[in-house]
């Protein structure tokens, strides 16, 4: 469903500090699969993830989603594409402090002009499914790490995106919570979603729920494991 064709990304192009983070990546990502990018720190996993998910534009090369070219779009339409297709879970969860769990979960739906009450209902149903409906009214500062991550997952899913993107989702979690996370993710896959995540966590690569591990080094792909 997502096709990456000879994508390069150079930061600080034309300056002495120029750095090529991605160097000619070719990759096909299958629908309804759980794909993991692995590799040492600095190998370009996050950069690749951000280009796939329309967060950043490649310096050269093309990205296609369901056959649609997205790499040349103006920012505004890139954003449209992104919020239609992707939901995000970040390493540091990135919840907005001072707002309640429910308010945080509703944030991606805020600028869309949907029916407010329906949005809230969906959010609550998702929180229920993740087992933190009781915390919906609580401020996010008071959540534990596992609860915060589940709030972040609920937020990522509020607009019902077909693809979930997660950058180092288990880096801040203990083993038990990491497994819980994988369970949640495979549940999402059962709902028909595609999941793409990065990790340098061996617990993840080894898990049975993972369909494919893509290994990276110095901005290039190393090998693909089935």
């Amino acid at each position: 469903m997502i096709s990456v064709q000879s994508v390069c990304k150079t930061y600080n192009e034309g300056r002495p500090s120029a750095l090529t983070a991605l160097d000619g990546i070719d990759l096909e990502i299958a629908r309804n699969a759980l794909t993991v990018f692995k590799g040492p720190s600095g190998s370009g996993k996050t950069t690749l993830l951000s280009i796939i998910s329309c967060m950043a534009r490649p310096t050269s090369g093309r990205v296609l989603i369901d056959g649609r070219m997205v790499s040349g779009l103006p920012e505004r339409f890139l954003t449209l594409e992104r919020r239609r297709t992707f939901g995000f879970v970040f390493q540091r969860f990135n919840l907005i402090r001072g707002l309640s769990v429910l308010e945080n979960v509703l944030l991606p739906a805020t600028p869309l002009g949907g029916e407010r009450r329906a949005d809230a209902k969906r959010a609550l149903a998702r929180l229920e499914m993740l087992g933190i409906a009781g915390k919906a009214g609580e401020r996010v500062e008071f959540l534990s790490g596992g609860e915060a991550q589940r709030a972040a997952i609920a937020r990522a899913l509020i607009n019902d995106p077909p693809v979930l993107i997660a950058d180092e989702p288990t880096a801040n979690l203990d083993t038990e919570l990491a497994h819980r996370f994988l369970d949640i993710v495979s549940g999402l896959r059962a709902e028909g979603r595609t999941v793409i995540m990065t990790s340098h966590d061996p617990r993840i690569w080894a898990a049975d729920q993972v369909d494919r591990v893509v290994s990276m080094r110095d901005g290039r792909l190393e090998e693909n494991e089935a």
């Binding site: 951000s50 967060m55 970040f90 707002l99 944030l107 991606p108 600028p111």
Partner: protein, 380 residues
């Protein structure tokens, strides 16, 4: 359309929730902003009310006044002029007026002494009708206490008070003392058949110019003052003072703008991070700008409302206590009258332009800076 409305409402709701989190900081900003608007709005409302007041007073003034000039200065005018002018077509009525100023050595105030044009209005002999600030500046102990005026040391003339003028007769009547003609002439030792000036009323306003021209030919030494001229002078006087006030207030607007720009450009690390998060989870630059504009709009609108309402109360309920003396006073007596409350759309619009535009201008570039942050930066 409904989706557009829902989007705006959702953005506004988010903005309110976000503003509520930094309550103290935002309330402070709102209060400072409201204060600036309060000053400008007070000046504007007050001057507008004064202008209206003057209009009301002038509506009853005669269309043309004839004054005698001697050596270029206003002098008494002989009564036989009245008969001369009476023949001119278009003059509805013509009357000699008696009025003068009296300097009160007791307290340094100036009073206007006058004989009412309408004889039926004149007080009986030995009595006076007084303006409403007189009892106050003369500290009259009781309601019917007589008024004593002293022309020279040792001299004392007594008038009983026939009536006090009510407060709604406004600015110009506040220092007034009305006498009957005989008392007036006796008090100032005037000969019979001279007047201070002559008042004409003219039926058709379009004929004023021709009539003035004719009288000018008859009485080459006289000065002719039309009501429109007086009205213009008033208007200019008030507008000019208002402008000065607004300009002064403009300085404070400027200071505030710098402050606002500073605040907006130095968005705290926390706020920058939040905008980054919003962009990462799918907000567009335009969404962030719209949200920030809501923020600016809510703050501006709140401050504008608060500042204007306070100014309204200040001017109309508390008689513009803070700077009445700047805008009004031309005499030692400060009129103690309540202005007729009124709001003028033009002034309000102008006020809005003067206060909200600079704020918008000052904040929009910093807002855009924050809104164009790269969405992927929160992943680092």
């Amino acid at each position: 359309m409904t989706s557009w409305l829902r989007r705006q409402r959702a953005l506004a709701e988010y903005t309110l929730a976000a503003l509520a989190r930094r309550r103290i900081k935002n309330t402070g900003l709102l209060l400072i902003y409201a204060m600036v608007i309060f000053v400008v709005a007070s000046a504007t409302l007050f001057a507008t009310a004064l202008r209206k007041e003057a209009e009301v007073v002038l509506a009853e003034a005669p269309e043309v006044i004839i004054q005698n000039l001697v050596m270029g200065r206003h002098d008494l005018i002989p009564g036989d002029v009245i008969a001369e002018i009476d023949g001119i077509r278009g003059v509805a009525s013509i009357k000699g007026r008696l009025w003068g100023y009296f300097y009160d050595r007791l307290n340094g105030a100036n009073y206007t002494l006058m004989v009412p044009l309408d004889p039926a209005m004149a007080p009986p002999a030995g009595q006076a009708i007084i303006g409403e600030s007189l009892p106050r500046v003369r500290e009259m102990p009781w309601e019917t206490a007589p008024l004593f005026l002293s022309r020279t040391p040792g001299d004392l003339v007594r008038f009983d008070i026939a009536k006090r003028l009510s407060s709604d007769s406004a600015l110009v009547s506040t220092d007034l003392i009305l006498l009957n003609e005989a008392n007036f002439r006796a008090f100032f030792e005037l000969p019979e058949d001279v007047y201070t000036d002559i008042a004409l009323s003219i039926r058709n306003p379009r004929e004023i110019d021709t009539i003035v021209e004719k009288i000018g030919r008859l009485l080459p030494n006289a000065r002719l003052v039309t009501r429109d001229e007086i009205a213009r002078t008033y208007q200019k006087l008030f507008s000019w003072r208002e402008g000065i006030m607004v300009l002064l207030a403009g300085a404070s607007v400027l200071a505030f703008v710098i402050f606002a720009a500073e605040k907006a450009s130095g968005l705290s690390a926390e706020e920058t991070r939040e905008i980054g998060i919003l962009k990462a989870i799918g907000w567009d630059t335009g969404d962030v700008i719209a949200m920030k504009l809501w923020e600016g709009g809510l703050v501006s609108f709140g401050a504008f409302l608060l500042g204007t309402v306070l100014a309204y109360l200040h001017v109309f309920a508390f008689d513009a206590g803070l700077f009445a003396s700047v805008l009004k006073g031309w005499s030692v007596i400060y009129p103690d009258f309540a202005l007729t409350p009124g709001i003028d759309g033009l002034q309000l619009t102008a006020l809005f332009f003067l206060t909200v535009l600079p704020y918008m201008a000052a904040t929009i570039v910093p807002i855009w800076r924050a809104a164009t942050a790269d969405p992927d930066q929160v992943m680092r």
